[in-house]
């Protein structure tokens, strides 16, 4: 495949305005599937099941089988709709989307068409650079996932060149909510970052609701990105492409950026964009053309006769609304104010992905400043060195305990770093490590004074200088004392005592 010509990103932005639209599929983590009582592989209890073992006659579309809606999937979908600020439809219904594909057991997908369960919402999305967007949600509808094909033969395991394919229907019927945005204007150069931040926000919402594991690498969260360009000053929208198979947050950003550059090059060259599905290739960082949209995409939607309308009661909606967790954006605003962080300070925390840890550390008694200092400082450094996720190294409770020991003067910062290393190494809680290693600050003035007197006696020139008012000379004595105490002393107290002893004689 020939590599497409790309236009420089800044140049593309000069000539064209990017318009994006995002379709995110969220796999619900219900115990069973959308329309069948088979175990749901998107629930952690049933990960990695052997092929075709999470199957009932319904999942295989066996003749005579019939779908029945999972009540929990309805609750989860309504909760998600509410969290997206959507209206919940007084009545919604399912429809059949008809097309043939071997991973689709019935050769129709049960979805929602003209009457989705949720519509007209809005989500606040904050970029890493602090810019905030309000993304309009057109609709969120329920549908079922398809099975999985494994392509065999050929050299790459790809669909191209395969000799045959194997079908596993475990995933067939996993409950999905598809969230569709309205076209997003005005993001300009931030369009790629916005796409990424939007999907990340959807993930945060899904996790806070507890309705999905929301892990992109597992396919719990999938994003199709629509991108079109229109020349500056033109009202009419350009032709869009829909990029599929984008499996990580980073890829979303790259894929949108790539499509902007690719389309800009074509348009600037006098060409036109084909309305088509494109596939993202993680390895090459490019997209390639899939099927063109055509009249073959006549899905012949009609109301699913095997299922009945979903008419949620006002009580149910209010019950679920009352149980909604705080929206991620609102929560960030609240925490920033409560903690008194500057914009920059808070942004570093938010971008580090350790917001929850920080909040828990503060809840466990640490000051926000101390919590921030430990998580974005020493803990982040250790995580980086070990190539691990900081949140897996140490618990917020232990960080709070460590901060309390420093606050109480039991530990110096230097000692506390040693204790932290012990915690990370699994030696126990900070207090246990302090006790076991004997790392506590020596607060017995008698022991300190003895060490100071010895140091002053061995450095009479320094003693002279101090007595002459050159207080800064005391540093040499303090250093000697700290060394003698093996660091287990409070340097400030040592300084006080040094000055006291030097001038007293």
């Amino acid at each position: 495949m020939a590599r497409a010509a790309l236009m420089d990103f800044d140049k593309a932005l000069e000539l064209f305005e990017p318009v994006i639209g995002l379709e995110v599929h969220v796999e619900l983590n219900t115990t069973t599937k959308m329309f069948s009582s088979a175990p749901n592989p998107a629930n952690s209890a049933f990960h990695d099941a052997a092929p075709n073992t999470l199957i009932t006659p319904v999942c295989l579309g066996l003749p005579g089988s019939l779908p029945v809606v999972n009540a929990q999937a309805i609750r989860s979908s309504i909760s998600l709709g509410l969290a997206l600020g959507c209206e919940i439809a007084a009545s919604s219904r399912f429809a059949r989307k008809n097309y043939f594909y071997p991973d689709l057991a019935k050769n129709y997908q049960i979805s929602q068409y003209d009457e989705p369960i949720a519509f007209e919402g809005s989500v606040e999305v904050e970029l890493e650079n602090g810019r905030v967007f309000q993304v309009s949600i057109e609709r969120a509808h329920m549908e079922e996932d398809a099975g999985k094909l494994t392509h065999v033969g050929g050299s790459t395991g790809r669909i191209q060149g395969a000799e045959y394919s194997l079908v596993d229907y475990n995933r067939a019927g996993v409950p999905l909510v598809e969230i569709v945005t309205r076209p997003i204007f005005g993001a300009e150069a931030d369009a790629p970052a916005l796409a990424r931040a939007y999907v990340s926000t959807i993930r945060d919402i899904a996790i806070s609701l507890g309705i999905s594991e929301a892990r992109m690498e597992r396919g719990n969260l999938r994003c199709d990105a629509n991108v079109s360009l229109r020349p500056r000053g033109q009202e009419k929208l350009g032709t869009r492409t829909e990029t599929k198979n984008v499996n990580s947050f980073r890829s979303i950003e790259r894929a949108v950026r790539y499509e902007i550059q690719r389309q800009a090059a074509i348009l600037a060259d006098g060409g036109s964009i084909t309305q088509e599905t494109r596939h993202w290739h993680e390895d090459t960082g490019t997209t390639s053309a899939g099927r063109p949209k055509s009249d073959a995409d006549d899905y012949r939607y009609f109301p699913e006769p095997d299922l009945l309308p979903v008419v949620p009661s006002a009580e149910l909606i209010e019950e679920l609304r009352a149980a909604l967790p705080e929206a991620p954006a609102a929560r960030r605003r609240r925490l920033k104010a409560e903690w008194g962080f500057s914009d920059d300070e808070f942004q570093i925390v938010a971008n580090s992905g350790m917001l929850n840890e920080l909040a828990e550390t503060v809840a466990a008694g640490a000051t926000p400043a101390a919590a921030r200092k430990w998580w974005t400082g020493e803990i982040a450094r250790l995580a980086n060195a070990a190539d691990r996720d900081a949140t897996t190294l140490v618990s917020p409770a232990h960080v709070a305990e460590l901060a309390a020991l420093v606050e109480a003067g039991t530990l110096t910062d230097r000692l506390a770093r040693q204790v932290l290393e012990g915690v990370v190494a699994g030696e126990g809680s900070p207090q246990q490590i302090v006790d076991a290693r004997g790392l506590a600050v020596v607060s017995d003035d008698g022991a300190l004074i003895a060490a100071i007197d010895q140091a002053l006696a061995s450095q009479p020139d320094v003693l002279e200088k101090i007595r002459d008012g050159k207080v800064q000379a005391a540093g040499a004595v303090i250093g000697a004392v700290m060394k003698a105490m093996q660091g287990k002393a409070d340097a400030a107290r040592v300084r006080e005592l040094v000055l006291e002893r030097a001038t007293a004689e």
């Binding site: 006659p57 066996l62 006549d298």
Partner: protein
């Protein structure tokens, strides 16, 4: 011919319960009858001799051990091949499912098994229940026991013929536009389409999901009621299953009385388009009911004229989607084009080879009716006609308790007579289709023989949704009055098939 096979299901159940006859004896008598006459009738696609005898022995054993059973325990039953049966082939009359053995039982099959009934085998039908003559079966037509050159009706011609030929005391059928009632009409038997949702559709190979309903095929109204009492009830596997409990239909038959019952005659279905003998028997039956206290009222149902048109849009549309699953991947036939092909080509070749002409016709028609740009004009409009038909029913039932119509316009026609004329075949369903569109229950029971051809004629009654008991009341009463006039059940006048027994035996067909 053994006396056992002449008994009604209710009588046979009583004889078995009293210990007079064992279920094994009853089952063997019917298996013998099948062996003797089915070569000529071809009601069965599959006979499960071994399974039936072992199930019968099991019921006998459990009864001897003191287990309590319902009134139909030990009684054999034939099952339309549209219902999936664990361990028994289930083809829906199609080549595309030849040899497929389902891993589960349809809910009505499970219920008859749980009631101690003995499935004898699977009965012939028009492929995927598309047809009114059983000539569209991929496995050859079924013959009408009254005249083997004539159709037994359809799509459930196999179930109706098996009961009319005394191969089974009763059977399960499915009715999407008349597939239980029209075969009953042409074979002199009883067929009931219950209210939509009364009997679970789980395990019924779907034709048109919003129209399909499973129901009883029997020789008497009481037998139909007893069977409906077994198979009706809520099934959590079918979302469209009605949650409420049902009153006993058998009680309705036993208490049957038409005094004071208001019967509406649908003007649009009582016309010159109906064969003279069918019409005369219909009016004689109404007169008999009137003499016994019923009130006859003429009813106008103008939208019924559009029912066939709406039906032949809704049915193919839903069917085109329901039959998409037959694609050679998970079950059934696979045909690979010469030299191999992509999965898409294999699917298309399989469906070309596996579906018969009527199935292809309706799939293409349904695909058209749903396709972009045509949905509103066709499928959308048909769903509106459905509303109009329901309104006509609502208006009618505000005035009368039940409606009456001839079940079908003619008696059994000759095999092959309408095979090349789909439109004229579709007209057979004119009187039965409105009930499916509106979801209301209907019964067809024998009204006599048409004088001009000596063939059976049925009369249909329709009741409001959930009022199935009214059908059993009126049907039970009319059956008693007619048999009192005739001196015997209508089927006693059917030709004796023993000559065919001889002929078939000589040809080695048994």
């Amino acid at each position: 011919m053994s006396d056992l096979i002449r008994l009604t299901a209710a009588e046979l159940g009583e004889r078995i319960a009293s210990g007079d006859v064992s279920s094994v004896e009853a089952t063997r008598a019917h298996l013998d009858r099948i062996a003797a006459v089915d070569g000529a009738v071809h009601a069965f696609l599959h006979v499960d001799t071994e399974g039936a005898l072992s199930a019968a022995a099991d019921v006998d054993r459990r009864r001897a051990a003191g287990e309590a059973f319902g009134p139909l325990a030990g009684v054999p039953i034939a099952v339309k091949d549209v219902l999936v049966t664990e361990g028994m082939p289930s083809t829906a009359g199609s080549r595309i499912l030849e040899g497929w053995i389902p891993p589960y039982d349809a809910t009505p099959v499970r219920l008859v098994r749980e009631a101690g009934m003995i499935p004898l085998g699977k009965t012939n039908m028009d492929e995927f229940a598309m047809g009114s003559s059983t000539e569209h079966s991929a496995y050859g037509p079924t013959h009408n026991p009254w005249d083997l050159d004539r159709i037994p009706g359809g799509s459930g011609g196999g179930s109706a013929a098996s009961v009319a030929a005394f191969e089974a005391p009763l059977a399960l059928g499915s009715d999407t536009g008349g597939s239980i009632r029209q075969p009953a009409h042409v074979t002199g038997t009883v067929g009931v389409k219950p209210t939509y949702g009364a009997v679970s559709r789980y395990g019924s190979i779907a034709l048109a999901s919003s129209l399909d309903q499973i129901g009883p095929v029997t020789r008497t109204v009481l037998d139909a009621a007893l069977l409906q009492d077994v198979i009706a009830g809520h099934d959590p596997h079918d979302s469209t299953s009605i949650p409420e409990a049902w009153p006993s239909m058998a009680d309705a038959v036993r208490r049957a009385d038409v005094a004071g019952v208001r019967i509406g005659v649908v003007k649009q279905l009582d016309s010159d388009g109906v064969q003279a003998g069918v019409r005369s028997r219909f009016h004689e039956a109404l007169a008999l009911l009137e003499r016994n206290g019923a009130e006859i009222v003429e009813i106008d149902a103008p939208s019924f004229e559009h029912a066939i048109a709406a039906y032949y849009l809704i049915l193919p549309a839903e069917a085109s989607s329901n039959l998409a699953k037959f694609d050679s991947v998970r079950f059934g036939l696979r045909v690979t084009p010469e030299g191999g092909g992509t999965v898409e080509q294999v699917m298309a070749a399989t469906r070309e080879a596996g579906f018969g002409p009527e199935v292809k016709r309706r799939i293409i028609l349904g695909t058209y009716a749903l396709s972009a740009g045509y949905y509103d004009a066709y499928y959308g409009s048909a769903q509106k006609v459905r509303t109009l038909v329901q309104r006509d029913f609502d208006a009618a039932f505000a005035k009368v308790d039940v409606l009456a119509t001839p079940t079908a316009p003619t008696t059994a026609f000759k095999l092959g007579e309408k095979l090349d004329d789909p439109l004229s075949m579709y007209l057979n369903d004119v009187a039965t289709i409105p009930a499916n569109l509106a979801g209301v229950p209907g019964i067809s029971l024998p009204a006599g023989l048409a004088p001009e051809d000596g063939l059976p004629v049925g009369i249909q009654f329709l009741a409001p949704a959930r009022q199935d008991a009214r059908l059993y009341n009126v049907g039970g009463a009319l059956e008693r009055l007619l048999e009192a006039e005739w001196g015997a059940p209508l089927l006693s006048r059917a030709p004796d098939l023993s000559s065919h027994e001889m002929a078939a035996a000589e040809e080695g067909a048994i």
